[in-house]
């Protein structure tokens, strides 16, 4: 079995985001990137499947600052092959990114075929969750998204669980090879100690694969007009005084707004 995991670095929203002088994009100099959370789950699911069914896990990620840390951590967790895609424009929209990734996968020997291609169902830069279906479409493979478990792989088919709202779940069968958009792995992503990551840095090798025809900008027919930081909308008002006075003020406010 060959499991291929497509992972992406996304802006870390713990750090403050800055808008670039053009007003249309994030200031990529100022921001710090982090592995997309659902991609981490896709990797975990792939590792669990490898443990269960045997085979190998290839991790593919577009070049970005700190992407090496992501790849080495994946190796420390048990990934067998690490591939960095070079020539992917960081500002690309998702359709163009999917195109670049697929072109690179097809151009390099041994990356395809994969029995399962797994990637996160959503990232903070891809709220629509387009990457997995677009990769599937371009490769002509079946796709299913918002997957929370792969329960069985046998005779060229996989059984997967897809989670709906309010705890409703459906079990689906999908013909292999296929593309999965993973919402969450069966178990939380494993912890990998720093010492193991450091050891992987020494022993694991990252291969570079060039995107054959780099795309300079998005060709999606969509243009970003402007970006804005969240505005502080009014401040909380602190009610002061003795408990009785505060209670009185609360009653007044509620009455004022027709809530009493």
């Amino acid at each position: 079995m060959h499991f291929l995991v497509l992972m992406r670095m996304v802006p870390d929203v713990i750090e403050e985001l800055e808008i670039a002088p053009d007003g249309k994009s994030l200031d990529r100099e100022a921001l710090r990137l982090i592995a997309s959370e659902s991609d981490d789950h896709a990797l975990e699911e792939a590792l669990l499947l490898k443990e269960r069914h045997g085979g190998r896990v290839t991790v593919v990620a577009p070049e970005a600052p700190e992407v090496d840390d992501l790849l080495y951590a994946a190796a420390a967790k048990g990934a067998d092959r690490l591939v960095r895609l070079r020539g992917v424009n960081p500002g690309l929209g998702v359709p163009a990114l999917a195109g670049s990734c697929v072109a690179a996968l097809q151009s390099s020997a041994g990356l395809l075929p994969a029995d399962l291609i797994l990637t996160g169902a959503q990232t903070i830069e891809d709220l629509d969750g387009l990457i997995a279906p677009l990769v599937a479409f371009r490769l002509g493979l079946p796709y299913i998204g918002v997957v929370t478990a792969v329960t069985e792989i046998a005779e060229g088919k996989a059984s997967v669980i897809k989670e709906f709202q309010a705890g409703y779940r459906g079990e689906f069968e999908i013909a292999l090879p296929a593309v999965l958009g993973v919402q969450s792995a069966e178990k939380p992503p494993r912890y990998v100690p720093v010492a193991k990551v450091r050891a992987a840095m020494k022993s694991a090798k990252i291969e570079d694969v060039e995107v054959p025809q780099p795309v300079a900008q998005s060709l999606d027919g969509i243009e970003v007009l402007s970006m804005a930081k969240p505005e502080v909308a009014g401040r909380a008002e602190m009610l002061e005084g003795s408990p009785e006075e505060v209670a009185g003020k609360i009653c007044e406010l509620l009455a004022e707004r027709g809530l009493l």
Partner: protein, 650 residues
């Protein structure tokens, strides 16, 4: 004088019998000891061959004077008496045995040399008194967490037989007219024997018989010893001699669970353990209802060695059955077990090795995993941006120097909790104001400071500790300063004792040490006398780990406060429950009383209205405990720096 080893016994020359018994006993004894040595040789090395003057000094206090045993006076005194009786009797035994085996030696038997015989009978009585006390405590007082084993009864009986046979023998010799000089005990026992109807004529035979009872019992004891819990009698002197002279932290490793993965010293603790339960009585995890028992941990280490001896080969492991992961995670690394252990056992390093193993296998609590991931990525366990580290300083009316940009005398290493926890930030600002008021020239590292890694190391994430240490050392190397100060005892310990400084370790002070120095030299003057009764909690990493007990107390007295001590104070202080990374882990079910709750009740019981702390984590833990115990009306938690502020602000 008669020679008890002369003549025939059952038609066989007595001396031949003595030779046979001695050879068998020493053979069995030697075989068992050699087996232990062989097992220890399979373990990893751990150098403990340095600083002999300090080791010998400790040996003197802990073995010869039994200082730690005396912390529990009743059994302490009894044990000391039995110990010294044992030393004398062992000497006499070897002396007698040599003379018995080699009659041509130009010396008398030990009990026939006047000074030795007198010493023996005096120590015999003293030893018996000790034995009676020990039996009284074990079987009637029944202290909690003392292991009640059949072994203990056997040993008490054996030692009694050894002492009594010697005393009765001396009495018989006295009756037979063979005891010369002033022999009060022999004379008294001889009198008793005579009163019981013993004849002087047969007393000589009785003395010889007692000599044989004594020798055979001791030889039996010798064989029994290395198989029993009284192995501690052989092992503990070496345990103390090769004990850690500083709070122990195992050298970097991949962790341990199987016998050969531990160091010899870690395994040795299992052999030296007497199962006295002092560690359990002191352990905050054990006393809160966590599954961890440091005593049983030592016992399991011993069981590991025994299993290896019985079945041979590798593959015997502590995890996951002999010691369960939830026991491993319960430890707060407060060091109370090690501080109390009379035989210098090292419980915490064994737990840290086990934690390293669990971390390497990815078996850890989700909250802990999140904290470690945050430490690795953001340099703090709060999962906040490094850029926010100095945000606490924004409420000050002066700007704190950036030690990376301008030289300062004191580099203030703030630590995570003081910097990021919104409840503690006001106290951190207070500390800054106090230092500024005293004219202290200080600065911080701003976003370049990272968590010290102390607690990451204690949860078994050694690689993360290394990374954080390297980042901090690199940041500190860029700063110009003379000394380091911190309000956080956990950071203090890492910086003072565990960081590998390339150009020599700078002086690292706790803020209580600095503030006391400022008050003592009149650079910080209390403008008003505070009044009232306060009690002070010694943080584990300040007290037991770094020996700072006096500075905070001196400050409190200098402020005019009446300091009352809790029963568990100084090196006996009781952990708040946050240490060793426990603050990042989820509470487990079945906890009877959290350590912090026990501690605030203890504080309230002193009659003090204020519990003073000197560690940011303590403040957080006790604030919570004060609410859950309903002591909000009775007890206030204050950081010591808040009191200094009250007394010194204009």
């Amino acid at each position: 004088m008669t020679d008890p080893a002369a003549g025939l016994v059952l038609g066989i020359p007595a001396r031949l019998i003595l030779w046979g018994l001695a050879l068998v006993a020493f053979g069995l004894f030697g075989r068992r000891v050699a087996a232990y040595v062989k097992v220890l040789k399979r373990a990893r090395p751990e150098p403990r061959w340095d600083r002999w003057p300090a080791r010998i000094r400790r040996f003197l206090f802990e073995v010869l004077l039994q200082r730690k045993l005396l912390e529990e006076p009743l059994i302490g005194v009894a044990h000391l008496l039995i110990f010294w009786a044992f030393v004398f009797y062992a000497t006499s035994f070897f002396w007698n045995l040599l003379k018995g085996l080699l009659p041509f030696l130009p010396v008398p038997y030990a009990d026939q040399a006047y000074a030795m015989a007198l010493a023996l009978e005096i120590f015999g009585v003293i030893g018996l008194a000790g034995l009676v006390t020990a039996a009284f405590r074990r079987y009637l007082l029944r202290p909690p967490r003392l292991e009640q084993t059949r072994d203990a009864g056997i040993i008490l009986t054996l030692i009694s037989v050894v002492l009594l046979s010697s005393l009765v023998g001396a009495g018989a010799a006295s009756l037979a007219g063979e005891a010369h000089g002033w022999r009060p005990v022999a004379t008294a026992v001889g009198g008793l024997l005579a009163a019981a109807g013993a004849e002087a004529a047969e007393a000589g035979a009785l003395a010889a018989a007692m000599w044989w009872v004594h020798m055979v019992t001791v030889l039996g004891f010798l064989v029994y010893l290395p198989y029993s819990k009284h192995l501690h009698l052989l092992a503990s002197p070496f345990g103390v001699l090769f004990g850690a002279l500083e709070p122990p932290m195992p050298a970097a490793s991949d962790g341990a669970s199987r016998l050969e993965e531990f160091t010899w010293r870690q395994l040795f603790s299992g052999l030296a353990c007497a199962e006295c339960g002092r560690c359990d009585r002191a352990c905050p995890a054990q006393n809160s209802g966590y599954q961890l028992s440091p005593k049983m941990l030592m016992h399991q280490v011993k069981e590991l060695i025994m299993a290896s001896l019985a079945a041979g080969g590798n593959g015997h492991a502590l995890l996951p059955d002999r010691v369960k992961p939830e026991q491993v995670w319960a430890c707060m690394t407060c060091l109370a077990c090690i501080a109390r252990c009379p035989v210098s056992n090292e419980h915490v390093p064994v737990l840290i090795e086990l934690r390293r193993k669990l971390v390497a296998d990815g078996e850890l609590d989700g909250h802990l995993q999140e904290a470690l991931t945050n430490l690795a990525r953001y340099g703090n366990s709060f999962g906040q941006s490094a850029r926010n580290r100095a945000r606490w300083a924004q409420g000050l009316d002066f700007k704190i120097k950036d030690a990376r940009k301008e030289p300062v005398t004191w580099l203030w290493f703030t630590g995570d909790y003081a910097a990021y926890d919104p409840r503690l930030q006001p106290i951190t600002r207070t500390a800054a104001r106090v230092l500024a008021r005293a004219g202290v020239d200080f600065g911080i590292l701003y976003e370049a400071e990272q968590n010290s890694g102390n607690d990451a190391r204690r949860v078994g994430e050694e690689g993360l500790f290394e990374t954080l240490m390297e980042k901090n050392l690199a940041a500190i190397a860029k700063a110009r300063f003379e000394k380091i100060v911190t309000t956080d005892p956990h950071s203090l310990h890492a910086l003072r004792q565990e960081y590998r400084w390339s150009n020599g370790r700078p002086q690292v002070a706790h803020h209580t040490e600095l503030i006391w120095e400022l008050i003592r030299t009149n650079r910080l003057t209390p403008l008003r006398r505070l009044s009232g009764k306060v009690t002070y909690h010694d943080p584990c990493y300040l007290g037991r780990y770094n020996g700072v007990y006096d500075a905070p107390r001196r400050i409190l007295r200098a402020l005019g406060l009446e300091l009352v001590e809790m029963p568990r104070c100084g090196s006996r202080s009781y952990c708040c429950g946050a240490g060793g990374g426990r603050i990042w882990m989820e509470d487990v079910a079945g906890i009877q009383e959290r350590p912090a709750e026990s501690r605030v009740r203890e504080a309230a019981a002193t009659g003090a209205a204020t519990l003073v702390v000197a560690c940011p984590k303590d403040w957080v833990m006790f604030q919570d405990a004060r609410k859950t115990t309903g002591l909000e009306d009775k007890l206030v938690i204050k950081d010591i720096v808040e009191l200094v502020e009250e007394a010194t602000q204009p």
